[in-house]
């Protein structure tokens, strides 16, 4: 049993995969708590897809993928933030229009005869191919995200609580929205290596949604979300190693299972509370 637990970590690529998932899990879990309360899950999903054409362009130009992803996501983030505030269009419609346009552009570019092979890695990620450079980038970007979230904690709390009165308490809702979208973009860029841009949102939304069911204060919720994400990463890697499944998909599956388990636990707690009352 002990041997089976230790066995996968003999390999450097498995160690790097785990470290990548720990980094992505902590940052994604903490950020995800704001994403669920700001109802930005759909925007996060869309930003991840908006990353795709950026990655394709970067691959075509031969520049680092992080750079391409960053530019693609920034363009989408600004477009979503600006059009989402136009009352006649509405947030969901504007997001859909922006993202379909960008995703379509990526597909057109990606299917051109001169496009490089391996586009499915951009879509699904490749956990086992994480390099030390990827880890360094993830650690640096992740630290920035956590520092910004710490500094803006009180403003995020006020705006998320009641946007309409936030300005009366000295908060800046538009700035907070833009910062949050920028941070989502950063986490998507960190996570795309591990999970691919089709699954990266799982690490932002899944653990936070799970923690929301169980925690009663914001900071414990963040700790719980980060813990859930790291645990899901670990279990997902075991699953991937022993069941010979794709890494990113295994991690995402464990996150969904964790959410369902939390639903049951919470249901049990509520039941017990109502029978005790």
């Amino acid at each position: 049993m002990l041997h089976a637990l230790v066995e996968p970590w003999r390999f450097g690529f498995m160690q790097r995969a785990l470290l990548e998932l720990v980094l992505v899990g902590i940052v994604g879990g903490v950020l995800g708590c704001w994403v669920v309360f700001y109802e930005l899950s759909y925007s996060a999903e869309s930003l991840a897809h908006a990353l795709f054409p950026g990655l394709v362009v970067a691959a075509l130009l031969g520049v680092p993928l992080v750079l391409g992803g960053a530019v693609g996501v920034l363009v989408a983030a600004v477009a979503v933030a600006v059009f989402g505030r136009t009352p006649e269009i509405g947030r969901d419609t504007s997001v859909a229009v922006v993202i379909t346009t960008l995703f379509g552009l990526g597909v057109v570019l990606g299917l051109s005869p001169s496009s490089p092979p391996g586009l499915n890695e951009l879509l699904f990620g490749d956990l086992l191919a994480v390099t030390p450079t990827d880890l360094a980038v993830a650690a640096a970007l992740g630290s920035i995200v956590l520092v910004v979230l710490t500094l803006l904690y009180r403003e995020l709390l006020v705006v998320g609580f009641d946007r309409s009165s936030a300005a009366a308490f000295g908060a800046r809702p538009l700035l907070i929205d833009l910062v949050l979208l920028g941070l989502i973009a950063a986490v998507v860029i960190i996570g795309v290596q591990a999970l691919g841009n089709l699954l990266v949102v799982a690490v932002i939304v899944g653990p936070a949604a799970t923690a929301r069911l169980l925690a009663r204060r914001m900071v414990p919720m963040m700790a719980l979300a980060a813990g859930c994400a790291v645990l899901a990463g670990l279990l997902g890697l075991y699953l991937s190693y022993y069941a010979n499944l794709a890494g990113g998909a295994s991690v995402a599956a464990v996150m969904v299972a964790g959410y369902l388990l939390a639903l049951c636990v919470r249901g049990g707690l509520l039941l017990r509370a109502s029978s005790a009352a």
């Binding site: 309360f37 500094l151 803006l152 904690y153 009180r154 403003e155 709390l157 006020v158 998320g160 609580f161 009641d162 309409s164 009165s165 300005a167 009366a168 308490f169 000295g170 908060a171 929301r212 925690a215 009663r216 204060r217 914001m218 919720m221």
Partner: protein, 234 residues
């Protein structure tokens, strides 16, 4: 759009702000709070504003305690990146005690009653260290005992020398306060409530569609503005 507004709020006084929905009550508050720039004119305030918004706009599923909400009042006083310190937490606890919620600091905001939530908001405005308090329809949806408790609290806060502006639809209630400000896209009237609230002023305020119900003690007791409604608590 709101024009021709001119009034004075003295320390220790309560002004009831009457007007139809869309009549300019929110516009007035947002201008005073600095969210809107007046096209022309100006106002001078001694000391800061504390704001008590409508409670139904805030999320009840939010992972915050009553103390967390009261501490939100420190945001406008501290630099944006700074965490509240021990002193701020003490001030927030004292504000909660002040509104009669000392035992409730750790309770989840969404689990409080409507009246308690309203008083948490008053505590938050106190943490803002406000000499002037703006309350946006604070009595909406409150049951009788909660409303009485809030009314008493506002009287005490006024007694401490704070100036209080209260948006409301309740004409009877306003009569117990010091001044009334009637708005309907312009200032219809301002003055002591009982002489000011004539039938003609009320008609101008509510657009000529008021319903007079014969009251047992005459005028004022039974006037029902068209937007007078009590939301049931959720």
């Amino acid at each position: 759009m709101l024009e021709g507004v001119s009034f004075t709020l003295d320390p220790g006084k309560r002004i009831g702000v009457l007007g139809p929905n869309g009549g300019g009550k929110s516009t007035l508050f947002r201008t005073l709070l600095g969210e809107l720039e007046p096209v022309s004119g100006s106002f001078a305030a001694v000391g800061g504003f504390g704001y008590v918004p409508q409670t139904e706009r805030s999320r009840l599923d939010y992972p915050v305690s009553a103390l967390d909400v009261a501490l939100m009042g420190t945001l406008s006083r501290l630099p944006w990146w700074k965490r509240p310190g021990r002193k701020d937490r003490e001030a927030a606890r004292a504000a909660l005690a002040r509104v009669g919620l000392d035992g409730r600091a750790g309770t989840q905001f969404g689990e409080l009653s409507g009246g308690q939530r309203q008083r948490v908001f008053v505590a938050r405005a106190l943490v803002q260290d406000a000499r002037i308090m703006l309350l946006d329809e604070p009595f909406t949806g409150l049951d009788e005992p909660s409303a009485e408790q809030l009314e008493e609290l506002l009287a005490q806060l006024a007694g401490e020398g704070r100036g209080i502006l209260i948006a409301t639809h309740d004409v009877d209630q306003v009569c117990a306060w010091d001044r009334v400000l009637c708005l309907n896209r312009r200032q219809v009237a301002f003055g002591p409530p009982v002489p000011t609230l004539s039938r003609s002023v009320l008609e101008q305020t509510y657009g000529g569609s008021i319903v007079a119900i014969p009251g047992e003690d005459g005028a004022g007791a039974g006037i029902l503005p068209p937007h007078h409604h009590h939301h049931e608590g959720h």
